[in-house]
Homo-oligomer: 360 residues x 2
């Protein structure tokens, strides 16, 4: 696929157009009187009780909050005065978040600090928005095949680009969908974070995988995938190159993990054929989600990606899809057991959820 | 204080009355035709990708969900036909949850399983409900001093009782308050869990404390408390025996930690004078919470308690109070960065929150 077209927004942020074959972007100047960006919008603080970094991004309190559809900042803005995307139309665009939790370049923070006491560090990194489509009312599951594939291509481009930048340890492509989980912009979009540290959950998973490799000589995730395939009770969907299942110890009322059938670390290692297959099964899964309760399902989609190097080499690219909707009318809330103790309590058996999703 | 009065509910569950001086409970027979309890209501499953146990409690889907006030199962039920508390009145009661996530006796699961593959274990343990008051419309912050102290006494009693039971590794007293975090019963109440394993967050905190002790020879939490006192910018309230502060790396829009000024492991090690002081400052903090936005604040209150033994000996009893309310009208949702990657992003500085709470 061809390289994206780059554009610059009024406050200096980068905007990238990814186009379907035969389409050419036609951006116009962004004429909005945007305030200059804060060069240091956040800081990292180290929590000694958990050994984890926390991002303190206090300037985001005033970020755009549930604007009416006619003021949507993600719809095309042909006048250059109304939107984050100054153009008459687009297929897929990616741009830096106007209210970033992480921004700028610098050193990442690999692991705990050497100093004692209260330790903070600049919140360097990258926060991007990816608009899946110019259509305000659609969803990822509704995208035509070639369009879904274009989103995957954009994710892959951003992964390669951000992983190459100094200070970025981890690239996280994700989608939050639904007001029930706090989404403040209805327009179909996702986000891409370049974290300056290995996130706590990723670090925990890599530690498990390292221990597994030392004990068994094999890859933890590959072994889990093989075990799920051998068991079969929690398989949701399969293609030639991908497998989707509800994990044995699912935490969420609806939870599906999607693995490529061979070990890769991130999207950049997949072949074109695998990327085609990935776009198709990913979209298929999200379609099942929406049919589960005959209504758009609020969900989170998390692409777990790793570097192909020593510390992260035990990682296995996969997607974790999660929803808090435990019935057509009820939500699962993360209250004190989950939020304060990380002790998850699931209300449904993984096998029953897999059977329902498989049948849809 | 005197020992509680024990009563038995129609399905065999235990109910305990804790009374203010001069009060005597007057229970009546529980005449509800309750179905027999499931002796194995849940199972634990081990998640190899994180090294954590997950509770699968599938029978809880039908638990009581936002009943009208006149059908509240926590209000006194003098007929023995309408309530979990068959009595004309009560001060504080504790009873086993009718829809428990953990129940029964057996072996706990200390650490990861030895076996490979998919490993499950019985969900033994204990889930209790504690009603703070017979008044349906009150809150903990509204309780008279002696009544708040009685709740603390009940927590202490349950902690001692449950810690002595085989298979229970950790006793967690907590309160979820507010529909915004999924509370389905408005009546002022908390819960008490006896987990058959060390919860993941507690295990992580104890690992940090152990490393700190090995490196510095001192207690991590005591050093953090001393550092917060020396800094002062995040102190919210102090008494002779307790200190409350917003932690340096707070994760939540409103987060306050309450520590006794001397190291104890759990409520059973506090003196009567300390328990008096604890009840007073705890209630004071919850009152500040409700004054923050001039409305009842949705919150989670988590009592971090430890055994006084080798593995848990580095623990330091404290309370973590958290709210997801980031302004008078907006909630902080745990979306993909937090839920999928444990990477927390705070929208406010801990110092500004501490200053506001201190001034209230």
């Amino acid at each position: 696929m061809s390289a994206p077209t780059s554009w610059t927004l009024a406050d200096g942020r980068e905007l990238l157009f990814f186009d379907l074959p035969g389409h050419t972007p036609a951006p116009v100047p962004d004429r909005r009187p945007l305030p200059p960006r804060d060069p240091e919008p956040s800081e990292l603080r180290f929590d000694r009780t958990t050994g984890q970094w926390v991002i303190i991004a206090a300037q985001r309190q005033d970020r755009t909050y549930k604007p009416p559809a006619e003021a949507c900042p993600l719809c095309p803005g042909p006048t250059g005065l109304t939107s984050e995307v100054p153009a008459t139309d687009y297929d897929v665009v990616v741009f830096e978040n106007r209210f970033p939790s992480l921004a700028g370049e610098g050193n990442g923070v690999a692991g705990p600090p050497e100093a004692d006491g209260f330790v903070a560090a600049p919140g360097v990194g990258r926060c991007e928005v990816i608009c899946f489509s110019a259509d305000h009312t659609g969803s990822f599951a509704d995208l035509p095949t070639a369009h879904a594939r274009l989103v995957v291509q954009a994710w892959r481009h951003r992964t390669a680009d951000l992983l190459a930048r100094p200070g970025i340890e981890q690239v996280f492509c994700f989608e939050n969908r639904g007001e029930e989980i706090g989404v403040t912009l209805a327009h179909p979009h996702g986000q891409i974070y370049g974290y300056p540290y290995l996130t706590p959950r990723t670090a925990a998973m890599l530690a498990q995988a390292r221990d597994h490799r030392i004990a068994h000589g094999t890859n933890l995730f590959a072994d889990l995938l093989a075990a799920e395939l051998a068991d079969g009770a929690r398989i949701v969907a399969q293609t030639e190159m991908f497998t989707a299942f509800v994990p044995f110890a699912a935490r969420w009322p609806v939870e599906v993990h999607l693995y490529p059938n061979r070990l890769v670390h991130n999207l950049t290692e997949l072949t074109d054929a695998e990327l085609d297959d990935f776009a198709a099964i990913y979209r298929d899964l999200l379609g099942r989600f929406d049919r589960l309760y005959d209504a758009p399902l609020p969900y989170m989609a998390a692409l777990h990606q790793y570097r192909d190097d020593g510390e992260q080499g035990d990682g296995y690219f996969h997607v974790e899809l999660m929803s808090i909707k435990r019935s057509a009318t009820k939500l699962k809330y993360l209250a004190a057991s989950e939020s304060a103790m990380d002790a998850f309590i699931a209300d449904v058996t993984p096998e029953s959820v897999a059977a329902r999703l498989r049948a849809l």
